[in-house]
């Protein structure tokens, strides 16, 4: 109790500091936060997104594309072969009724999805389409389909090498499979990789899992109620997050967990309605997507620009290869780790191939991206960095405007959805970050509290800073996780192959049977 009190005091002190600072320099607090933040994170961002010498192509994008391709080929298109089986697993066809009451495959998938489906699908896609044009969608879908194999690999390992404690709780994720898996193979350096991953995971939790969410939630609220300082949204969000993760007020988290899936369905439903109403433009939109994918249709960076944006935003949205999903999926109770790998491959499909594509099509059809009527090519903004849009919107505001052009009241629903998605993603990532933190520093209430307070402070910084530096840092932090995770997966994938071989042969001989027809 005392610890909670002192934590509350620390948070109030931060809020108080922000208040005083605001009173003194009312106009510049957000700008100052932004400037300091951009300067501090600049070198890290520069390193992660460094282009190949003599090109504009960031090495990290090729790293992710290569990984997804390698896993797809190594597991002989597991995402196609086991797609139907994955659905049967989620339906519970293979669940032993004796195990009722344990975490089901559906629950593990739903929880992992609530961490991934969110702003990446709404704001991230708008960024991709805004910069890379509709062609970015094509590459996003390709990345989503290939990423299913990466997700399969990491989630199988997540369950196989998780820690089960005496009290019955579980902890899993890349830090556990990197250290245990490397040891099993007699390879050195597993522990080091695990620690490096943990450091990056904490940065990812603070960046993409926190600041980006707070930032876009603020943009969305400000877009409706009028502009006001970002730190105010930050403080309110931080207080609610604090109440959940430190105060243990589970009811808030529980309500969110129930409302978020509903919001997801509502979002996809609205997108489908818009597409149905504009059915005559769907063919044209797909044409734009395909044509833009290979020509760029005049966007900045041409087709390479579309490809980079597509892959970047897909990875940011579905987190395949990043390693976060392995933490989420490891809680499931199963004797067969492969089953959870199969279930997890549905995640990039739902997240990227379905939801992201919906957003991209709605934006394309809405006509928010301005084209030259004579040439059909996109007109770039003054800086030449992105496609010119009606009202110069970008990110979540672009998606909002696109939906609003067909359903006038939808931006209000979207605002609520964005806030809830942002919140649920934050709660999920606070857990991923916390697991990495406790991996490095050990379990313990005080140690956990330190991380949780840092997490809340970053909510405020995220809401106050500009989108540019926040999105750069968020991307860099999340992709840096993928650097370590994918590197480890190359060594560990043979363990997954052994599991997969054993499982599929038992499945074909009928040793593994359905409990339900």
């Amino acid at each position: 109790m005392k610890t909670i009190q002192s934590a509350l005091l620390s948070l109030l002190a931060v809020i108080g500091f922000a208040n005083t600072a605001y009173a003194q320099e009312a106009m510049t607090l957000d700008q100052k936060v932004n400037e300091i933040f951009a300067n501090v994170t600049g070198p890290f961002v520069g390193l992660i997104f460094a282009p190949f010498p003599g090109t504009d192509f960031p090495w990290i994008v090729l790293w992710l594309v290569t990984a997804a391709t390698v896993f797809t080929l190594y597991f002989a298109f597991v995402q196609v072969r086991f797609f139907g089986h994955a659905i049967a697993l989620v339906k519970g066809d293979y669940s032993d009724p004796q195990d009722a009451g344990e975490v089901s495959h559906f629950q593990a998938l739903a929880t992992a999805l609530s961490g991934t489906v969110g702003l990446g699908n709404i704001a991230g896609v708008a960024v991709a389409v805004g910069i890379g044009g509709p062609g970015a969608t094509f590459w996003m879908i390709v990345a989503g389909l290939m990423g299913m194999a990466s997700k399969f690999t990491e989630c199988t390992l997540g369950v196989k090498y998780r820690n089960e404690y005496e009290d019955g709780t579980v902890s899993g994720g890349p830090m556990y499979y990197l250290s245990k898996g490397f040891k099993e193979l007699g390879l050195p350096g597993g522990k080091i990789l695990a620690v490096v991953f943990s450091v990056f995971c904490i940065l990812g939790a603070l960046g993409g899992g926190n600041m980006f969410q707070a930032n876009q939630a603020h943009a969305q609220i400000a877009g409706i109620v009028g502009d006001y300082p970002g730190w105010i949204t930050g403080v309110i969000f931080a207080a609610v997050v604090f109440a959940v993760i430190v105060g243990g007020i589970k009811s808030i988290a529980r309500v969110t967990e129930k409302v978020v899936p509903f919001m997801g369905i509502l979002y996809v439903g609205a997108a489908i309605i818009i597409l149905i109403v504009n059915y005559d433009k769907i063919g044209w939109a797909f044409g734009q997507v395909i044509e833009g994918a290979f020509t760029g249709l005049g966007v900045a960076g041409g087709f390479v620009g579309a490809l980079i944006q597509g892959f970047k935003r897909a990875a940011f949205s579905n987190e395949a290869g990043v390693g976060s999903a392995a933490i989420a999926h490891s809680a499931v109770r199963t004797k067969e780790p492969i089953t959870e790998g199969c279930v997890s491959l549905l995640e990039p499909f739902i997240d990227t191939v379905v939801v992201c594509t919906m957003t991209a099509l709605v934006i394309t059809i809405s006509g928010q991206l301005i084209t030259d009527p004579d040439t059909g090519q996109f007109i770039l903004n003054e800086a030449g960095t992105a496609v010119k849009t009606i009202g110069d919107t970008s990110g979540v505001e672009l998606t909002s405007a696109a939906f609003g052009s067909s359903i006038s009241w939808f931006p209000y629903v979207l605002a609520v959805a964005v806030v809830l998605f942002a919140f649920s993603t934050m709660i999920s990532w606070s857990y991923y970050g916390l697991k990495s933190w406790t991996y490095m520093f050990g379990e313990g209430k005080k140690k956990e509290l330190v991380f949780k307070i840092i997490f809340c402070i970053f909510v405020i910084i995220g809401a106050a800073a500009n989108l540019g530096p926040v999105i750069d840092f968020s991307d860099a932090a999340i992709f840096s996780m993928a650097v370590v995770n994918v590197f480890g997966l190359y060594f560990l994938m043979k363990l997954v192959k052994k599991e997969l071989h054993s499982y599929s042969s038992r499945l074909s001989t009928g040793e593994i049977q359905k409990f339900k027809d």
Partner: protein, 145 residues
């Protein structure tokens, strides 16, 4: 031939009345075995947070042991003390489905439950656990008021 009765308990007074009725029936039948079951209402399609998932196994064990010590064990003891053969268990799942599954597993002749106390909105939409049981069970069901 031994008759087999299944008693569904809910930890409330209605369950106690069902148990008393089952005991009376078993004594009248004579050659009779009883199975006492407590079902923890649970769906594999509900939504949980990360933390709830990580702790789920532990919670499940706790739920089972609490239900065993508070509800099932005392009921079995009561029946045994009355000179009847009885076993007990706790399962998670949909109440009606789980009771039917237990019934099939033990070749039960009759299921005895108390009238459920649940009401309001969910009952109007989905029907109560007892009415679902009555509608889908393949053996006679006695509902004790």
């Amino acid at each position: 031939m031994t008759a087999k009765l299944l008693v569904g308990l809910d930890g409330h007074a209605s369950g106690d009345r069902a148990l008393a009725h089952a005991q009376k029936l078993a004594q009248l039948i004579g050659d009779c075995e009883l199975v006492v079951a407590y079902i923890v209402e649970w769906s594999p399609f509900s939504f949980h947070t990360q933390e709830e998932n990580a702790e789920r196994h532990k919670r499940r064990e706790e739920e089972i042991s609490t239900a065993m010590t508070r509800v099932v064990d005392p009921a079995v003891k009561k029946l045994n003390d009355a000179g009847l053969k009885a076993i007990g268990g706790v399962r998670h799942g949909d109440v009606a489905e789980a009771l039917i599954a237990i019934g099939k597993k033990h070749n039960i002749d009759q299921i005895i439950v108390g009238r459920s106390s649940e009401g309001g909105f969910s009952r109007r939409i989905f029907g109560s656990a007892v009415s679902n049981l009555v509608m889908s069970a393949s053996v006679p069901v006695t509902v004790v008021n």
